[in-house]
Amino acid sequence: MLRPSSDIRFRVLDGEAVVVRQSAGEVLVLSEVAARILTLADGSAPVAAWVDTLLAEFEIDRAELECDVLAFAAELAAEGLLEPVTAGPARQGAERGV
């Protein structure tokens, strides 16, 4: 399971996400898809559950969606925006969308 990195704060505005990376002092804008994944990554639902949620929102083939979601999640994790949940309850730090 994944959750927003403890290093980031984010807000969703009109679907896109504004992300502040604390340590680097960087500000990023994420696309609607990436923003949606960031909001689904709450540290409690597995990636498979994200796919179920998104399948209800988009008319798309499940296999294709799984590939896309995994690729996006991997990309966000590689960028340090998502981190694996290792122990304990979900963190409460991230700012949710408005």
């Binding site: 505005l13 009109d14 504004v18 502040v20 604390q22």
Partner: protein, 346 residues
């Protein structure tokens, strides 16, 4: 390098509270957004220098203890109207390290916690404390002289940035220009072209507020989303001039608030064009251009909450990426896209 080491021989001796020997008995009341700001403990020389430096921003009864006439607040938040007090205190010049300033870009050193901010810089250490209201203290080794105004301003910039954030506004690294009854903000950090575009705007008849820092303040609570007298659009966000300029802008002349007619993220180019920014892009730009507070991990959440509010109201300003060249053709583009009469575009 830990906090203060760059500037101080003994960072461990950083003052833990607002105390010590003041420079004198004089006071000064400055009328800036989020204020008024009262500075006590000034020497006569310091007060004279600051009066000269801040001109119209000095309230007329400055200098007397217990000055009671203050400017109206810029917002109607709970804390609006409060006088923000700071104390000027002495510190021995020997407390500071000496070093070669050639080729060096000056940055204040800061260290923050939820209820305090500590600052160290050239000839200064300072504190901002929330107890619970914001109050400041500036220790400097300069009782006057050519360095004092700059030392004071370095502290004052930070104080205003934190104060405005409390009120839901932001100080922005920007060029502020008056055009057609409203203000345009051209956003960008050092090197983005703020002074260049200010100069180009000036050549086309725009009045430059500041080519470095301007204040964006929210409307008073309860303000309806209707055009105010003299406003062509329902833009209720206001740009307020700050006496913090680079090369352009008359830092001594006070101006009233002007309705914001557009935000522009600067992009140097060989041509001139506008591209609308999404709200997220505009928010990212404001966040990146909010000095001091955006580097404070304890205030980023507040900043991240304030910026979408500024961009999300009834009078949300239009925001664009502005590619501009030295030819100055952007001005005519602004005329067609951002004139107050073309509300749909701007």
């Amino acid at each position: 390098m830990s906090f203060g080491e760059q500037f101080l021989h003994n960072p461990d001796l950083f003052p833990a509270r607002h105390g010590g020997e003041t420079w004198g008995e004089q006071e000064l009341l400055l009328d800036l957004p989020g204020g008024p700001y009262r500075f006590a403990g000034l020497s006569t020389d310091q007060q004279r220098i600051l009066r000269g430096r801040f001109g119209d921003f000095c309230l007329p009864d400055s200098g007397r203890r217990g000055a009671g006439t203050v400017a109206p607040p810029v917002t109607a938040s709970g804390a609006a109207g409060a006088v923000i007090s700071s104390l000027l205190l002495r510190i021995d010049a020997g407390a500071f390290r000496g070093f070669d300033l050639r080729g060096w870009e000056y940055r204040l050193d800061s260290d923050s916690s939820p209820d305090a901010v500590r600052l160290a810089g050239l000839h200064l250490v300072a504190r901002l404390d929330w107890r619970p209201g914001l109050a400041g203290a500036l220790w400097t080794s300069q009782g006057g002289g050519p360095l004092f105004a700059g030392i004071f301003e370095n502290f004052f910039r930070v104080l205003v940035a934190y104060r405005l954030l409390e009120l839901g506004g932001v100080v922005l690294h920007s060029a502020g220009v008056l055009k057609g009854g409203g203000a345009l903000l051209f956003l960008g950090r050092s090197g983005a072209g703020k002074t260049t575009i200010s100069r180009l705007c000036q050549e086309h008849g725009g009045e430059v507020l500041s080519d470095d820092l301007n204040a964006l303040v929210p409307p008073p609570a309860g303000t309806p989303g209707k055009p105010a007298a003299g406003q062509a659009s329902p833009a209720s966000l206001a740009v307020e001039k700050l006496p913090f300029t680079g090369d352009l802008g008359d830092r001594r002349s006070r101006r009233g608030a002007a309705p914001l007619h557009g935000l522009f993220r600067l992009e140097k180019a060989s041509d001139d064009a506008l591209r609308p920014l999404s709200r997220a892009e505009a928010a990212a730009c404001l966040l990146a251009c909010s000095p001091f507070v955006n580097a404070d991990p304890h205030r980023r959440a507040a900043l991240l909450a304030a910026v979408p509010r500024l961009l999300g109201g009834t009078g949300a300003p239009p925001a664009f990426a502005l590619r501009f060249s030295l030819r100055g053709a952007f001005w005519s583009i602004l005329d067609t896209k951002c004139h107050p009469s073309t509300e749909a575009a701007c």
